[in-house]
Symmetry: C2
Subunit: 243 residues, 2 copies
């Protein structure tokens, strides 16, 4: 089913009027009267609607049902990723959105080569949020994960530590597997923290333990910095019974 | 540790002599006498060696220990992917190699837009195998997954069906999850089959069931054709106790 994202205010009332890009998209799709579409606020709500009329740069819809987004995961997973080089963060945002991440948070760490300044960050955040929106639409999600950046590693640790399961993946950890870390079950929120290309420094791993994160391994093979968060996210979704 | 890949014949004897690209790479790395390196045949064996001498376009090594590749997964997972467009197969080969796939097999299906002809396939296979080699080296694997292509969907089904768990992922399947399909445990070989951009046709899914594959879902969100195999592979490796 076609899915449109609008601001939450635009979901009020029994009739919705979509304009701008959404109306253009509707025109391209040649939607017909009576056809069903979904209109989502990208957060808490989605409306199942029927097309009332199209044309004149607007799409008018009758609301048939209001509901919580039906394709959201039961577990809220926050993906914390140290700023990688080039377009790897974009790749992770797109894939993590498809895989059902609740939010994606980028932060600096000691070995980060890429550290966007405040000026470029604003533009980048807009771009990143658009990637999340597009991936949410394509994968049939009613919720768009928020993309955030934090200004320090310490801030990332303290924010991540508030989850039921707060996990950091480190290539030199051998004893504790992700499976062990999740074995107690009953978690509703999970933080997954991974390092940049050069990995995390040992002192950073110590700081993470002190902040309350559990340090785990993702196995015997060294994963690239853009592969590790997606591998961990897939496994957590599997463990949580999503598929 | 630095890792070199050589032909199996080059692993015979107590002293190994590496030439060509490997010797050039050793020069760039400025390897010193006594330093330990790994030499792998990319299949069954790896040799832990100490540098005896460098220079004159060759690297001479003393073999200290012969062993099976230490970082291979206990479960052999074959990734069957319908030919996707553009460079998506390259992406899957790189990531699936990191994630520990045993082999990657591309095949045509009804909705494949990309169907390389025999002429271009030979060149492409060489390129794909190089990507697997490079990813194996970077992720610390001693085995290079083989990249194969098959000429028909039927051939893919029959080859895939020989595994202990032969699974096909279909977005319209809702009842059987991957977790259910793996719940009996005790598997040593797994086939994961996924469709192209436009998905598999319903008749193809019926054919797969007839060939003995189990049809499963990867959850409520629609995954892109390059995301699905990597998500499934991560989950299988997790289930099998790899991390």
């Amino acid at each position: 089913m076609v899915r449109f994202f609008v601001e939450p205010e635009a979901l009020l009332g029994d009739t919705l009027t979509l304009t701008g890009e959404n109306a253009q998209h509707a025109k391209v799709l040649r939607l017909k009267q009576g056809e069903e579409v979904l209109v989502c606020d990208g957060q808490e709500q989605e409306c199942l609607c029927a097309v009332q009329s199209t044309g004149s740069g607007q799409l008018v819809l009758d609301v048939k049902e209001r509901r919580e987004p039906a394709s959201e995961a039961s577990v809220k997973v926050s993906v914390y990723m140290a700023f990688p080089k080039a377009d790897k963060l974009e790749h992770v945002i797109q894939k993590a959105t498809e895989l059902g991440a609740f939010e994606i948070i980028a932060f600096p760490s000691a070995r980060c080569i890429s550290r966007p300044d405040d000026k470029s960050l604003k533009k980048k955040l807009e771009r990143w949020q658009k990637i999340a929106l597009s991936a949410a639409g394509q994968s049939g999600r009613g919720r768009i994960p928020q993309v955030l950046t934090l200004s320090s590693y310490q801030e990332a640790l303290h924010r991540a530590a508030t989850a039921d399961k707060a996990l950091l993946f480190y290539e030199n950890e051998q004893a504790v597997t992700l499976k062990m870390a999740l074995s107690s079950g009953g978690y509703q929120t999970v933080s997954l923290l991974t390092g940049p290309e050069g990995g995390l420094e040992e002192t950073e791993v110590v700081q993470a333990r002190e902040a309350g994160l559990q340090v785990c391994t993702l196995g015997k093979r060294i994963l690239r910095c853009e592969t590790a968060p997606l591998c961990a996210l897939s496994a957590v979704m599997y463990d949580a019974g999503e598929f």
